[in-house]
Amino acid sequence: MSIDSPPAPAGPAADGLAAQALQRQFEETLAADHRIEPRDWMPDGYRKTLVRQIAQHAHSEIIGMQPEGDWLLSAPSLRRKAILLAKVQDEAGHGLYLYSAAETLGADRADLTDKLIEGRQKYSSIFSYPTRSYADVGVIGWLVDGAAICNQVPLCRSSYGPYARAMIRICKEESFHQRQGYELLLTMMRGTPEQQAMVQDAVDRWWWPSLMMFGPPDADSPNSAQSMAWGIKRHSNDELRQRYVDMTVPQAEFLGVTLPDPELSLDPATGRHRFGAIDWDEFRRVLAGGGPRSAERIARRRAARDDNAWVVEAATAYADKHASEPRS
């Protein structure tokens, strides 16, 4: 049996008793905090939820190359250019680790890419915003990748083995992303008043979208409990958002920037920060494709697929032609 075939469903052949035994084995594996692996039996809902989550996570990484990639040819120094190039290349890598994990569940990379381009699957709303200055590169590293780390660290313990392993690699690399961003901002904040103003402007634009990255409030996520029980989701959206705010406020103070929320304040009783209301209408509009750069992001991904199709075909033809030759 090949390892790239999708997991076998219980199927009509499996009688009720066998299906119950499989379900019980699955639940026992989860209860013992062991990992589910590709060839294991798993409930159809578990598999589908994972494909949705992993595929769209992969799409976000791939689309996420664009906002920062826009600055590759305008980097202020060779040092910054080399760093940014490494970072954008990492995002491609993260997307591919995740497509690889999704494929162990019976998904297919080319098909997932089609679904993204057709708008049937989504990517993170955060990448539909424009990058207006080089300070945006720093703020994306600090705030956007900082928020991603909050989301992603718990995923290293995801119940699905290939996903958890991909996330371990990704989290190691995200740490570089966040630190290079913060260092870039520290450098700019030690610069001219104009440079400091660029940083503040970028913070003003990215702060609220970064809070939206954690998704709607828990009250609006009725099926979270199932994902929690499956070990796919480890913390609630609100919990992760709160953790992010508490981590970020002191970093903003150190940097010397103001987070654009007049209601932001430390609650002395809990040691946690209160913050203002998030504009969920904006979030839903952007996620649905109505963000400032949504159309451009997908158009570019479509062009990358279609304009490079001849490369895929030519390499396939070359491989077919040489397949019968003895290997040196």
Partner: protein, 121 residues
Amino acid sequence: MSDLTAEGGHGAVPTGPDVPVTPAAAAVRRDWPLWEVFVRGKRGLNHVHVGSLHAPDPEMAVYAARDLYTRRNEGVSIWVVRSADVTASSPDEKDPLFAPSGDKVYRHPTFYEIPDDVPHI
């Protein structure tokens, strides 16, 4: 709108039933074949499976594996194998396949009781 989970990595993604997951056959046929990648982290260690990738032929698969899985000196040697060529035991056959070693505790050194004062054993 369907459920949105923060676990979408770089942002919340919808996970409700309106998000399709079943692959369309036309897209599957278009892509390059899948390869499993094994990396030797350093001399003295075995090659270990690290993931998979798509590539048109073995040579390109090795180059892609270098770019994808060893960007930070994670390896000194790479193997690639067509995923379709891997034969796997199925966990469903777990009991019959692995049962023969289950009852042979005498294969382990801890099975044997040796007095504490015997040296070097």
